[in-house]
Amino acid sequence: MRVALFATCLVDTMVPQVARATATLLERLGHEVVVPPTQACCGQMHVNTGYRREAVPIVANHVRAFTGAEAVVAPSGSCVASIQHQQAMVARRAGEHALADEAEALAARTHELSQFLVDVLGVTDVGAYYPHRVTYHPTCHSLRLLRVGDRPLQLLRAVRGLDLVELPGAESCCGFGGTFAVKNADTSTAMLTDKMANVLSTHAEVCTAGDSSCLMHIGGGLSRLRSGTRTVHLAEILASTEENVSPTQTTAPAVPA
């Protein structure tokens, strides 16, 4: 299948290795990956902060960038949820009905990574190797808006060498919430503290999830505490193979940053 990769603005700008891992994984599974060069952002941050009018041109750019794509995949539950639940709505509210229709049609062809792998490609064993103790945080939007359910766990269970350990209080929000993390920094940090306490109680080396935004939040907290537990996107784990692992059991990123 020819798959158009939507990197998402945050991954593209801050953690490009996550988009690279997604491309590597999809190519390893035998699919052609294209990266439309005019892509930018889905508009979620604008919509969720109250700038729904200003989100409309961003939605228009997104729709233009992915025109004609057969299937779009993004390594983010949150951005896909915004594409599916918000893009057409803000366009319609602004009276841009043609754009809303196009956004709706594109949304129907847009998939979150774990849903694409399990539901569209029908694979759970992607041939990955990752010899580490890992805990999985189900991010709110993948859990409650996309209902990805246990798909990421199915994928992780099939990874060779991976020791999957259950995260207590997994379904509690980590406190990121986009601009919430800045506008309500104290409450956000309190939520993060409880999330980190649960992550650390698992003694996992790695906390993974399907959203780089939440991971940047949890990882930023864990890093500040010098906890030694790091955050790694699900795509990076699934892209990892034997070649990425050294004899000292450290796993270099499947792709360099």
């Binding site: 700038y51 961003i58 409650r144 808006l145 986009g178 409450t187």
Partner: protein, 507 residues
């Protein structure tokens, strides 16, 4: 109804002295007036939360209480195989009722009147307080017993009665704790959820006259102390004030559901009963209760059925109160009804399930919301009742995690309403703010690939601040500092993924 829709461009009426400018984005309908009632806090949510988050006792009390009640709710909801259909039925009934609210209210008035009750229409808190005060005065009584009621908390009835020399005695255990502790409620269902047993013992020991000085914090002892204190007041009370969970239009029936039996005492013993009810509480038919009485107890206390359900219609000679007054309260509700996205907040049946699952509520507590309606539902209801500019920080008091929507027994899409109200706030600003300038600029950048790539390159320059380290410095200027005070930011890469990929595939 006394509150009929007015000219879309009408100025805020004199009935809402402080009606915010954003009122003009509604239909010019009056919002809840300032200076009366408890819908507005004195601080913004982030400021109030900052203080609350440092209260270790509060965090422990709330964490324990919400975890317990969450578990109970989940267990009893899971027992109902058709829960989702029930939920959708509840939602549909509410939506259909709201579409003809005026007709149902007029039918309710006819039926209550036909059964010997008197109906009063109060357009806001000030009017409702005046009506109730006059009714109590007319009985010659200088005290009333109260059934737990959100509507009377909303309008600040106790303070209004006190100013008229009438003592209002709360008879719900948690509400009594709050009243005796000169505190304010922090939860819709459990107003004293922020207090633990030993704190309650201290309040009782200091405030209940003649209480056993050896009172322990054992729940039964605490309940018995409250019971003894209240019993005397129930028996001498001549006037009771209640709210209502539901009002059935076709039969003129009011309904109160409760756990302790204090409500039943208030609703049956006194001569005069005054019920203050938000206009959104009406349901058209008796059979509609069949849906809501299944949804409410499981969602709210985590019980299959609540211990006491009292229903009454008008007055019955020789049995119960011989005088019944129903005060129908608007206080901004018609303005909420005028907003096609926000009106769903009026479907709320005050179960408080959304508070119990909310990660923000669990940590910041109810007082941080500054309104009698805290938590997710409060964050969508309070700003709409007051006009969004009077509670502008509340729609942002959520990480949009969506847990509230999942548990709401009438499927109110709270996250979508929060997002909608954020936009109402942004669009109500007449002058640019630093934030709006940034977001408008970013919108131009993110809709133009050339500008976007330039911006990404600029962001990549941030890597030089790290001087080779994997994270950016912890001390950065605002607004980035709000992030970096407690979390590291990764050092940005030199090239974006799209840029790298495009260069590789150009060859």
């Amino acid at each position: 109804m006394t509150t009929t829709p007015q000219d879309a461009r009408a100025e805020p009426t004199p009935l809402a002295p402080g009606a915010p400018r954003s009122g003009t984005t509604f239909l010019g309908l009056p919002t809840a007036p300032r200076g009366v009632g408890h819908l507005r806090g004195t601080q913004s949510f982030p400021d109030a939360a900052r203080t609350a988050l440092r209260d270790g006792q509060l965090r422990a009390n709330l964490g324990r209480a919400t975890t317990t009640i969450r578990g109970k709710r989940a267990a009893v909801v899971a027992e109902v195989p058709h829960w989702e259909q029930l939920r959708q039925a509840g939602k549909a009934l509410k939506a259909a009722t709201m579409a003809h609210l005026d007709e149902h209210l007029e039918e309710l008035e006819r039926q209550v009147t036909a059964r010997g009750g008197t109906v009063h229409w109060a357009r806001d808190a000030t009017e409702a307080n005046r009506i109730v005060t006059e009714l109590v005065r007319a009985t010659g009584s200088d005290e009333v017993v109260k059934v737990k009621s959100m509507a009377t908390q909303e309008i600040g009835l106790n303070e209004a009665l006190e100013a008229a020399g009438i003592e209002a005695i709360e008879t719900d255990l948690a509400e009594l704790i709050v009243q005796l502790g000169e505190d304010s409620p922090s939860h819709i269902l459990v107003p004293a959820i922020h207090k633990n047993r030993s704190e309650i013992r201290e309040i009782f020991r200091r405030t209940i006259p003649g209480v056993d000085p050896g009172l322990t914090d054992e729940p039964r002892q605490l309940a018995m102390a409250a019971r003894t204190h209240l019993r005397e007041r129930f028996l001498r009370a001549r006037v009771a004030v209640s709210g209502a969970n539901f009002a059935v239009a076709e039969t003129g029936t009011l309904a109160v559901v409760e756990s302790e039996g204090n409500g039943r005492m208030c609703l049956t013993l006194p001569q005069t009963l005054i019920t203050v009810m938000g206009i959104e509480k009406v349901v058209p038919r008796w059979e509609d209760l069949g849906v809501f009485l299944q949804l409410l107890p499981r969602s709210s206390t985590g019980e299959r059925m609540n211990p006491y359900t009292s229903t009454w219609a008008g007055v019955t000679p020789g049995d119960g109160p011989q005088e019944f007054h129903l005060v129908l309260l608007d206080n901004g509700r018609t303005a909420v009804l005028a907003d096609e996205v926000g009106r769903e907040a009026l479907h709320c049946i005050r179960c408080s399930a959304c508070l119990n699952v909310c990660p923000v509520y669990e940590r910041a507590g109810g007082h941080a919301y500054g309104s009698v309606y805290p938590g997710p539902i409060g964050a969508v209801l309070s700003p709409q009742l007051t006009g969004v500019e009077d509670n502008a920080s509340l729609p942002y008091a959520s990480s949009l995690c969506g847990a509230c929507y999942d548990v709401c027994p009438v499927a109110i899409d709270i996250p979508s309403i929060l997002v909608h109200l954020r936009a109402e706030h942004v669009e109500a600003q007449t002058r640019p703010t630093a934030e709006s300038v940034a977001f408008r600029g970013l919108s131009r950048v993110m809709s133009n690939p050339r500008l976007w790539h330039l911006a990404q390159r600029a962001a990549g320059l941030g890597r030089f601040l790290s001087r080779g380290r994997p994270t950016l410095p912890a001390v950065l200027p605002p607004p980035v500092s709000a992030w970096t005070r407690t979390r590291d930011l990764p050092t940005p890469p030199g090239k974006s993924f799209v840029q790298q990929w495009t260069e590789e595939h150009r060859r």
